[in-house]
């Protein structure tokens, strides 16, 4: 174990920065900040324990802690909600976890220029509870909407279920303040003041610091986009007798050109089978229902109502049967909660086993979806045949473009894992399977992650392949900004930036 032991003088310095009340070194505080919902080898939990946890309340405090860590060469791992589906917030090399949950204030609400400036520890649902009084919302809507935090959304460059209408995190965060790995506090955006959406000044640094998984610094404040609170919501669920019809229908719906279209979701046959295990929404559907397509629209009523008619017509013309208002409205309203539950886990003999939901995501072009689907299910079937603690929970494909919901799709295969039963052999098999899943995405011209990030064991090995020469630039940037490799070390193969020169800190 490559543990960095915090010497007592370091603890003393941390106390002088954040105070005794916001520094934690007790085992429970550290064990509970060692993991995220990404696949986790529970049997190796103890390998990822941070040495200390701090809960700062200001950019200044974050900066002081980072400077201290940089001086002493101690790893620093930023942690927001800890709800990510890749390992961004897992302290691979121990060190200090900087947990930003207390930085959750709303600093400024500007209804004229339509921005809200917040601390990175605020949750979107909580923020929207405040914003709705002013008839505006911040429309970043991931599956983790009730619990993930703005800082983590920036760290992973998140994807939103309604991004086809409103954009994703990178489009909705206008600018933000960052503490760099050497402790400087900078503001990055498109250029200009913090409320400017489009500029041509200088390098576009906003994207550089979006999705870096905590390897380039820590967000301490963000200025976000506000949109009018939608006066109308429309959701329609259609069923199909086969995947191919549903897939074609998905493409037609997504290409409809309707400006209020927020997203289209394709459920495959495996997903339906998984939901049918006990889900009241799907049990009553006849066996002929093999695939489902969900569509959602948001906007002003004058636009949504006529567009909804068009959607209903396209759905029917492409072979879909409307599943009714109850499923359409109910399932869409419960979209954050419904689709992954550990209680649905099944062993090959159909016994119920409590399983973790693991979602392997990729960006895949529409034309490639059927082939990727076949290959992915085959890989998971092969894994299950060798290790019955895994379970295939089916696939979703969601429209992935911002504002223009056609072209490529967030494509996910959900795998149940009975983590209590994991051992080194089955964990290794899983890591290999994930790498194979990622390889299929690349073979078909895709990206191995649309929203979670690609720094988990397995797929991370293919990052240099996916990014081509881009990975060499990543290493150079990493080394330039973080000369001592203190910021979330071990992620994204970026340790190689230092190994190449034979100077691993």
């Amino acid at each position: 174990m490559t543990s960095v032991m915090l010497s007592d003088p370091v603890v003393g310095e941390l106390v002088s920065i954040v105070g005794r009340d916001r520094l934690f070194t007790d085992p429970a505080a550290r064990f509970n900040r060692a993991r995220v919902p990404a696949p986790f080898p529970v049997h190796r939990w103890a390998e990822h324990i941070p040495d200390a946890v701090v809960l700062p309340v200001s950019a200044q405090e974050v900066s002081e802690v980072v400077k201290l860590a940089n001086r002493h060469r101690i790893p620093v791992v930023p942690r927001a909600g800890g709800t990510g589906l890749t390992d961004g917030a897992v302290p691979l090399k121990h060190g200090i976890v900087i947990d930003i949950k207390l930085m959750n204030k709303v600093f400024e609400l500007d209804l004229e220029d339509r921005t809200v400036t917040v601390g990175p520890g605020i949750n979107m649902l909580k923020l929207n509870e405040e914003l709705r009084k002013h008839d505006v919302i911040y429309p970043d809507d991931p599956a983790s909407y009730p619990c993930s935090l703005v800082g983590g959304r920036i760290g992973t460059s998140g994807w939103s279920l309604i991004g086809g209408r409103y954009g994703h995190t990178r489009d909705l965060v206008i600018s933000f303040e960052m503490v760099l790995p050497t402790g400087e506090i900078v503001r990055v955006g498109d250029g200009g003041g913090k409320k400017v959406r489009k500029s041509s000044s200088g390098y576009q640094l906003k994207h550089l610091f979006m999705g870096h998984q905590g390897t380039l610094g820590i967000v301490t404040e963000a200025t976000l986009e506000l949109v009018p609170r939608p006066e109308a919501e429309f959701a329609a669920f259609f069923s199909y007798e086969d995947y191919e019809s549903a897939w074609r229908s998905t493409g037609t719906l997504a290409r409809s050109g309707l400006a209020t279209l927020a997203g289209v979701v394709l459920f495959d046959e495996w997903k339906l089978r998984y939901l049918r295990r006990d889900d009241e929404a799907y049990i009553p559907q006849p066996d002929s229902v093999r695939a489902v397509v969900a569509v959602a629209m948001y906007g002003v009523a004058d636009e949504v109502r006529p567009a909804a008619k068009r959607i209903m017509r396209i759905g029917k013309d492409t072979g879909g049967s409307y599943l009714g208002d109850e499923i359409s409205q109910g399932d869409w309203a419960s979209r954050h909660d419904r689709y992954a539950t550990p209680l649905h886990g099944r062993l090959p003999d159909r016994q119920v086993a409590p399983m973790s939901w693991h979602c392997e995501d990729a960006s895949i072009n529409w034309s490639q979806l059927p082939k990727v689907r076949e290959k992915w299910h085959a890989l998971v079937s092969d894994l299950i045949a060798r290790h019955p603690i895994f379970d295939d929970w089916g696939m979703f494909a969601y429209t992935n473009g911002a504002y223009k919901p056609w072209g490529d799709y967030l494509t996910e295969i959900d795998v149940g894992i009975w983590e209590q039963e994991l051992d080194d052999e089955s964990w290794e098999a899983w890591v290999n399977c994930k790498r194979d899943i990622a390889a299929v995405a690349l073979e078909h011209g895709g990206s191995m992650s649309a929203c979670h990030g690609s720094c988990r064991a397995g797929e991370v090995d293919l990052v240099p392949d996916e990014l081509g020469g881009g990975f060499e630039i990543m290493k150079k940037i990493k080394k330039a900004l973080d000369p001592n490799n203190i910021m979330n070390p071990g992620k994204y193969l970026l340790d190689r930036a230092y190994e190449d020169a034979g100077e691993t800190p």
Binding site: M1, S3, M5, L6, S7, D8, V11, F24, T25, D26, P27, A28, A29, F31, N32, R33, V36, P37, V42, H43, W45, A46, I49, D51, L55, G81, G82, T83, D99, K101, L102, N104, G121, N123, L125, K126, K133, S144, P146, C147, D278, D279, E280, S334, H336, D337, R338, A340, T341, P342, L343, H344, V352, P354, M355, S356, W357, E419, Q420
Partner: protein, 417 residues
């Protein structure tokens, strides 16, 4: 600093058999949370909303058990974290496992029970919280909870609240008066008694009422709690009681959940919640609310009614029946994330958190531009009143029964606080 290498030592130190038994009992339920990882419970948790500390989340309360099973943590490591819970039940309701598949699998995430069980394990393992320990000792000595502040609590004064109301001892129906009501907010039990009388409900008091034992059970002192229960039940039986009316939601939980667990089928008393009874009396025309109350109010959903028992309609029905009242309602689901912070002993160990949770609740009410916040939980009313009174534009905190008594024309002299 102690580091990773001490885990094995910790495992052997903690393994006194009790912990192993506890882990065996809760491991699978804990894993159902651990494996889900949704963490949707967090932002509705009244404590987590203030401390923002992941160790105070329902997720951590379950994950700790997984870590204990693996020998990473022991009850000594985690006991203090479990102080940070009001047992309001919001997390259980917000859990996707409960919401979407619980019915099918007959499963419900039971974080409140987990917290209670861990606190009991801590007490049984000798890991006690000083404030709770003292509180339970004092309760044991004076048979009623010490309630907070400089108030003399003793059996000699347990029925002082009823002075002048001419309530008999005994009978088929008893009114059980909560400790906070008996010694601090006496206006609430007085209102309750006068309402019952005017509506023609016959009732009496216990010969010797002791604390219900609920708070001790919530803090982990299960045996002590049970001894209180045994006394109270014996008292009920000795006067031939069959029906117990309670106005405090905490008592309601204790009598409908703890007592049946202690006594099984032998527990054959009907427990009646005062707000439900009042709603029924109004509905049936037995209680006339005719005097207008010219106030603008909102209602605070008491956690133990709304989140633990699903009772949110009766209090609203009563408020809508009061003439003159402008009632600005906030729906009961939004209120899953509201709390006064007073429950489950939090105010004893962390009064700072109770005060802050109450302050935030009062600010929610203030946004609605109301004169008063109406609660149906006597325990919530003290911290809420304190915060309401601190505002530049104070917000009054009323008990629903006090408001009902007012509207029924049942004026009472100011008693108690």
């Amino acid at each position: 600093m102690t580091q990773h290498e001490t885990q094995d030592d910790r495992r052997s130190a903690a393994d006194n058999g009790l912990q192993a038994e506890f882990v065996e009992r809760w491991r699978d339920a804990a894993y159902n949370c651990y494996s889900s990882g949704h963490k949707f419970c967090r932002e509705v948790c009244p404590v987590m909303q203030v401390t923002r500390d992941e160790a105070h989340t329902p997720t951590a309360f379950h994950a700790n058990i997984v870590a204990m099973e693996m020998g990473h943590l022991s009850v000594e490591d985690v006991a203090r974290d479990y102080v940070h819970c009001t047992q309001c039940g919001a997390c259980e309701l917000r859990c996707p496992n409960t919401l979407f598949t619980g019915d099918f699998y007959r499963f419900r995430t039971r974080t409140v029970e987990v917290v209670r069980a861990m606190r009991a394990l801590a007490v049984d393992s000798g890991v006690e919280q000083e404030g709770w320990k003292r509180w339970v000792e004092l309760t044991d000595r004076s048979r009623s909870e010490p309630v907070m502040g400089d108030i003399e609590v003793s059996q000699d004064h347990v029925a002082d609240w009823a002075r002048g109301l001419d309530i008999p001892i005994g009978g088929e129906t008893l009114l059980f008066c909560d400790c906070e009501g008996a010694f601090f907010r006496t206006s609430t039990p007085r209102a309750a008694a006068r309402i019952l009388k005017v509506a023609g409900v016959e009732f009496g008091l216990m010969q010797e009422q002791w604390c219900c034992g609920g708070p001790a059970a919530e803090m982990g002192y299960v045996e002590k709690a049970r001894s209180f229960a045994e006394h109270n039940i014996a008292d009920w039986r000795s006067v031939g009681a069959k029906r117990i009316i309670v106005f405090d939601p905490h008592d309601y939980i204790t009598f409908t959940e703890d007592y049946p667990r202690y006594f099984g089928d032998d527990f054959d008393f009907e427990i009646v919640l005062m707000v439900e009874l009042v709603a029924e009396l109004v509905r049936d025309g037995k209680l006339e609310l005719s005097r207008p109350v010219e106030k603008t109010v909102t209602y605070h959903d008491a956690c133990r009614l709304n989140k633990r028992k699903g009772i949110h309609e009766a209090p609203r029905e009563i408020l809508r029946a009061i003439p003159g009242l402008t009632f600005k309602d906030v729906d009961h689901v939004t209120q899953w994330s509201y709390c006064s912070g007073a429950g489950a002993g939090l105010g004893i160990e962390r009064p700072d958190l109770t005060a802050e949770i109450s302050r935030r609740r009062i600010e929610r009410a203030a946004e609605l531009e109301v004169d008063a916040l109406v609660s149906a939980c006597v325990w919530s009313e003290r911290p809420l009143s304190e915060q309401g009174g601190k505002r530049a534009e104070p917000i009054e905190v009323l008990d629903l029964l006090e408001l009902v008594a007012q509207s029924a024309g049942l004026d009472d002299e100011k008693v108690g606080s």
